[in-house]
Symmetry: C2
Subunit: 322 residues, 2 copies
């Protein structure tokens, strides 16, 4: 049997009882190491499972899938995946390949960031499509996430944004010289993510951004505008009027959530958010009072923070008493 087993979000004990029993039966145990990480090291997993673990890099999974599947029709083989096993296309591919080799397969599900984002207090059912954001460089700022985010925001949905993880990356020089030397792993911090969002927003709407930084008084005849009566494009993403949240180390004892406006969250430092893994959420307009309240427990500035002000004035949500 070829088992694909979800490990959940945090440590060795987040595996299900069913998954734990299966791992202990397996002759070979692979750990997928490139789409996410656990908060504990491989040795701790090996001790707990009583099994040696083979690290499955992207190269191994994509180029040597047959080696992973070898003899899985005769012995039990486990492929461990952080979170739920069927989040990434790679693993579906592996299952299709197993089926084509007449190898029986079994998927053991677990929590993933998609379910655990219930910790924000936002309702899972109100989330639209999930987005990914990669590290920007001076010359490469892929921002197709922006169009997808607008699609969600237009109909009031919340948006989960997964943040870039770089493991086993080579520097351009090492790659050019064919040296298999890898850079230290990098995990995008919410501080970076929110700044990239504000950067893309200002590049896509330069006028809006410059007009919002000018005085908001009605004496607009001084700014030389020749269309004083033109309505501005409705703002979907506004630094000080769009609410957002960060999710760090969800499911671990050091889990931290922060809620506030995009601007407030971009102004926090990397240290404010702490170590990986992180995700962020952009809050949609279809916000429920109970969602505002629960997520407000984590608001920048506490009870006096902009979270509540924007929640009321922009999102139109009145606080309820609990």
């Amino acid at each position: 049997m070829f088992y694909v087993i979800g490990l959940g979000l945090s440590d060795e004990k987040d595996i299900t009882v069913k998954g734990f029993e299966a791992v202990k039966r397996c002759e070979r145990v692979y750990l997928e190491s490139y789409t996410s990480i656990l908060m504990v090291d491989k040795e701790k997993l090996e001790t707990f499972y009583g099994r040696q673990i083979i690290t499955a890099t992207r190269e191994l999974v994509e180029l040597e899938a047959d080696e992973i599947l070898r003899d899985a029709d005769k012995v039990d083989v486990a492929f461990l995946v952080v979170g739920d096993p069927l989040g990434a296309t790679t693993h579906t591919d592996l299952l299709l390949r197993a089926t084509s080799l007449n190898i029986p397969t079994s998927v053991i599900h677990n929590a993933s960031i998609l379910t655990a984002l219930g910790s924000t207090g936002l309702q899972m059912y109100s989330f639209g499509q999930t987005l990914s954001m990669v590290f920007y460089t001076e010359t490469w700022r892929p921002d197709s996430w922006y169009d997808r985010l607008e699609e969600n925001l237009k109909v009031g949905m919340h948006t989960l944004v997964l943040l870039d993880i770089k493991v086993r990356e080579q520097s351009e020089e090492n790659m050019a010289r064919g040296r298999l030397i890898y850079e230290p792993p990098r995990f995008m911090n919410p501080s970076t993510a929110f700044r990239q969002i504000l950067l893309t927003e200002s590049l896509r709407h330069p006028t809006k951004s410059s007009s919002s930084s000018s005085s908001s008084s009605s004496s607009d005849d001084e700014d030389g505008s020749d269309k004083p009566n033109e309505e501005p494009t409705p703002t979907l993403l506004d630094p000080s009027k769009t609410l957002a949240m960060s999710l760090s180390r969800i499911g671990t004892p050091t889990q931290r959530l922060v809620s506030g406006t995009l601007l407030e969250l971009a102004e926090l430092s990397e240290e404010d958010y702490g170590g990986p893994l992180h995700s962020i959420v952009i809050v949609g307009k279809r916000l429920h009072p109970l969602e505002l309240e629960y997520a407000g427990k984590f608001a920048v500035g506490g009870e006096g923070g902009n979270w509540w002000k924007v929640g009321k004035e922009v999102y139109g949500v009145e606080r309820e008493t609990f």
Copy 2:
């Protein structure tokens, strides 16, 4: 400590090792019984956990939350929820209340249908907001799900639709007479769900539905239409051109998935889908070849089924070789 612990999707062994250890420490253990069910009975859970379980009905949770939370600052109390614990608003409410009583809380996540729908082969990240469908009656056919579905379809997203579960429902007569007699539990079958979708579609677009049943040949001068050149409204939901899937008993040994057009799936019987629990998925236009291929394993009519024809002609996805 007040623990809210996810049980996962199928049986007693889907709890995580961490959750299992917590349950065994608890003095009182509640099982939330009204938003979902496990495939095993309470007695089996009690034997496995070595703990007596108190069934938590909606009335108990909403009206006597303080009884559930009693002494949880001094002893350990567990509240078990099928799937992931933070899917439903009720449980967020319970956590807020615990915090306001200075009771420490701990959430132990698990798989939910939202993650497990990766079993369809469709990418979780391409799903839009999740919808719910209730049983229609002769006089009551709430169809606000239709507008939400259109929002998802317009931008190509897939849609998970959760199907009605009726537990501890009273008949109108028993309710009127104040008799606490409950009807047997009912779980909506995909067959019913797809028929309700077609019914609502035909009620919302009566013309389109009648014109699509007429000849599709180009001799449209015979149908008396006075606007022969007018383009029909773009079809978002078309019985024979929209792909969908059913998910039954996900995570259990009898798990069954079926994929096909809305019409094909509506024509299957309840027996074809088998026992509960079920969900369905409407496939969005942003369909990837790997998604088509994996989900196609479950196609009505197999390799010769409409799944592939519609996938190619309507969704524009060419098959790849694996």
